[in-house]
């Protein structure tokens, strides 16, 4: 057992037999937020899917709290405390906003979500609407609330701020930090430095399917990041 | 198996390279087989709604062929059956008939299937060879060189209806049938006989053929009308469905039912709890007490054992067809259309249901009125040599 709470160890894989991600290792400690950055198409989302069980790695291992979960199904991973919020098709369009949130609750009650509704009143106003009618940014808010409400200790979020207004990005950051302070760990795939600046303990940058930089957020300045994010 | 396949292929290649038609390959092989076998195409229901009868039809035909062969065959030649499926659409079956004639070189065709298929086959056979049509049908067909062995409505009704009135509480009739030519023709003819005996038709209902029908409506109307007789021209599953619904509504005590096509299989479906006061009028029942029938059923039991398929008038007709054809050929000494037709007129032959006589290409025969006792038929009256009143020349 090595130190991290969530460990990605020498993972390789992609779609089919393609090898989009090559020998990537990331270790995330308890109560740590790691932000994964990189240009489009370098394998960030693929890595998140390999780590959470949506794609089967060609090699390497994933461990959560010391237990190997490599190749386990996402529904099984959730049961042991690994939450995933996808980048695309983030909500159930056919279901109402309320149903999106209550889907896996035996009693269908949403009482304990009041604090999220206070932060994002748009959602509580639209509880009875089909989620398909929400804007792209609103869907992202709903997805984040769903993910945080699942109560997992490890949360993987893929591009949470796409299409989200500035003030809501700030509120997202506050929610994430609050959960981090309560002991949860995060892996956040993100391009938006507004969010990264507010939540990251450590920054990992990928290029061509490999990790090219991994350092404490305090040690990396904005200029370094921007050089990696531009061609 | 493998060698014969190779031989066929080699011949095929040789024939093709010689510029012959593909069909030439089997033709080269044919002389190697018995040259003087008389092939008969037999159309049976291997598929489709009547496929229930298929195994019994095949068994009856095979026994017919064996019986004829044991007595020296037809025109001194052993007969061999080529079966084809009559359960497809009329156009498809007509194609099979063409194949029987051109490729299999059959010299006669026997068929047990519906009238639409018969008309399709008649259109391609065009009287070129004798075509013996065996099942119950509506009559009024005089196509050349076609011979009808089945019961026509006149035979099923003219003597049976007056007899049935002995069991009925009055003379009012409710007619229910499938919506197609046999049922409608039968009912038109029935109305004439009902008029002759002073009866009255109170209503008639027709249900589409082959649709998922339910009969609660008609049964409710019957319950309100209280006729003394329900005359049925429903077939197959609809016959079962109607009679079960009728009995469920508790009408079988007071109202007599006569079905014009109720044979052994259908009665099994209707079941013992729904067959009270139900009668059937047909030219054959598998249980009739005639020595010829005992032989027929006995031979089938010998050949097929426990698995002998249930015989009924629909299947047994194909056995009759062999007996009929062999009797005619013995007289005509030829299968030529003219000679065969001349010899057929007036010819008598013995069948499991008793003697039959071909008159104007239709068949005078015995008609039995049977009462359903549970899932068995009890013949309560036999009408000998009932004429068809058809007038083909």
């Amino acid at each position: 057992m090595t130190g991290g709470y969530f460990e990605i160890e020498k993972i390789s894989g992609g779609y089919g037999s393609g090898r989009v991600v090559r020998d990537v290792s990331i270790s995330i400690g308890r109560g740590e937020v790691v932000c994964l950055l990189g240009r489009n198409g370098v394998g960030k989302s693929t890595l998140a899917k390999l780590a959470c069980g949506f794609l089967r790695p060609l090699s390497g291992a994933v461990r959560l709290a010391g237990h190997e979960i490599t190749g386990a199904r996402p529904s099984e991973n959730l049961a042991v405390g690994l939450t995933y919020c996808p980048q695309e098709r983030v909500v159930f369009d056919d279901l109402t906003v309320a149903e999106n949130l209550s889907l896996m609750r035996a009693n269908r009650r949403l009482d304990d979500l009041d604090r999220y509704f206070q932060v994002f009143p748009r959602l509580s106003e639209r509880l009875r609407q089909h989620a398909g009618t929400l804007s792209g940014g609103e869907k992202k808010l709903l997805s984040l609330v769903r993910g945080l409400a699942e109560g997992s200790d490890m949360i993987v979020i893929d591009e949470p701020t796409e299409g989200v207004q500035f003030e809501n990005v700030v509120r997202m950051a506050e929610l994430i930090v609050a959960r981090k302070n309560a002991g949860a760990s995060f892996l956040v795939v993100e391009q938006n430095l507004t969010l990264v600046d507010r939540i990251a303990d450590r920054i990992v940058i990928m290029d061509h399917g490999e990790v090219v930089l991994s350092a404490a957020a305090s040690e990396v300045d904005r200029e370094d990041i921007l050089t990696h994010l531009t061609v | 198996m493998l060698t014969s396949f190779k031989l066929t292929r080699r011949n095929f290649v040789r024939a093709a390279s010689a510029g012959a038609l593909a069909i030439g390959a089997p033709a080269i092989l044919r002389p190697a087989m018995a040259a003087d076998v008389l092939k008969i195409g037999v159309l049976v229901a291997d598929s489709g709604p009547a496929a229930l009868f298929g195994p019994a039809q095949r068994a009856a035909a095979e026994l017919g062929a064996a019986t004829v062969n044991a007595k020296g065959g037809i025109l001194g030649r052993q007969v061999a059956i080529v079966f084809a499926d009559a359960g497809a659409s009329p156009a498809e079956v007509a194609k099979s008939a063409v194949k029987l004639m051109l490729s299999d070189k059959v010299e006669m065709i026997f068929g047990s299937h519906d009238s639409a298929v018969r008309q399709g086959v008649e259109n391609v056979v065009k009287g070129k060879l004798p075509y013996v049509y065996t099942p119950v049908f509506e009559g009024d067909d005089c196509s050349p060189n076609v011979y009808f062995l089945g019961e026509v409505p006149e035979q099923e009704l003219q003597k049976t209806l007056p007899k049935l009135l002995e069991f009925a509480k009055g003379k009012t009739f409710y007619l229910v049938g499938n919506d197609y030519v046999w049922a409608r023709t039968t009912n038109e003819k029935a109305k004439k006989y009902i008029g002759e005996i002073g009866g009255k038709v109170v209503a008639e209902d027709y249900y589409p053929l082959g649709a998922p029908n339910k009969f609660e409506n008609t049964v409710a109307k019957i319950k309100a009308e209280k006729p003394s007789v329900v005359l049925q021209t429903l077939v197959g599953g609809d016959n079962v469905n109607f009679n079960r619904t009728f009995a469920d509504f508790n009408l079988s005590d007071d109202i007599v039912r006569l079905s014009c096509l109720l044979e052994e299989n259908t009665l099994m479906g209707i079941g013992k709890d729904a067959s009270k006061n139900l009668y059937s009028s047909l030219g054959y029942f598998a249980d009739i007490d005639l020595p010829e029938n005992k032989t027929f059923i006995g031979e089938l039991a010998k050949k097929y054992g426990d698995k002998a398929p249930q015989q009924c008038t629909i299947s047994k007709g194909l056995y009759d067809a062999f007996i009929f054809a062999s009797a005619v050929a013995a007289k005509s000494k030829s299968l030529g259309a003219k000679e065969f037709a001349a010899a057929a007129e007036g010819i008598s032959f013995e069948t499991p249901s008793g003697p039959m006589t071909m008159t104007k290409r239709h068949t005078t025969k015995n008609i039995f009125l049977a009462r359903c006792d549970g899932t068995k038929f009890t013949v309560i009256d036999t009408f000998s040599a009932v004429p068809t009143q058809q007038s083909c020349t």
Binding site: C85 | A51, N241, F249
Partner: protein, 284 residues
Amino acid sequence: METLLLTQVINVVYEVLILAIIVLGLAVVMGLLNVLNIAHGEFIMIGAYTAYVVQKSGLPYVLAVPAAAGVCGIIGLVVERFLIRPLRYEPFETLLATWGLGLLLRKLVELGFGRGYRSVEIPVVGSLNFFGEAYPTYRLVLMGVSASVLAGLFLWYRRAPTGARIRAMVGNPVLAEAVGIKTRELARNTFVTGTAMAGIAGVMIAPLTPVEPFMGLAFIVNSFFALVVGGMGTVAGLFAGAGIIGGLQSVLSATVNPTTAYLAMLFLSILFLWQRPRGLFPRP
């Protein structure tokens, strides 16, 4: 004539309820999984044969219900595993595959029982006075059972989260897996529930019709039309479809004639397929 009218009204209700219970299994699988199980009628047929076997062995008829649900459920399980899942629940592929499955099931039953008609005796004989009019007891029992099953299902679908989970799974399978829905098991259970329901419907209608290998074909036609008219995947659609198709046929059959009633039903269904293929109450 008043009693005739009353009987005919009961007949209409009866026909609608029976059709609804027959459609139910098909509606579950089609409406929730987008799989048109063409072999639905064959599962009804196998349910009816199960009833026949149970009755022949001298066991109480009620036992045919769990027996048929079990037999059809197990067949459904095998079919899901080796036919539907490998085809990834694709609508067109599974339609063709279940069409072939129907042929196979008919052949297998034919091998076991032959082509001949079997008859299942009415388990509850006699008539009951229903608003002063005698109506066969078994049919009244059937109407009661159908109404209760449908009402129970309606409540369950509204209350229990399973309905929403199935919709979620069909709409977005990746996210469904992410939120913890065991999609493979849920799809399998839904399919198996549909086939088991068909088996139970088979037990219910077995005493009313000839039991034979091809009986299922008659049921799939009306069931499909009811789905087309009502709309798929909603309880309202199920009731509307069964009500319109069953009711229209029954009423026209009584007032005009059965052939016209059948043609009207065909016409209406074609009209819907053409102008409103999603039916009256489709899933949003």
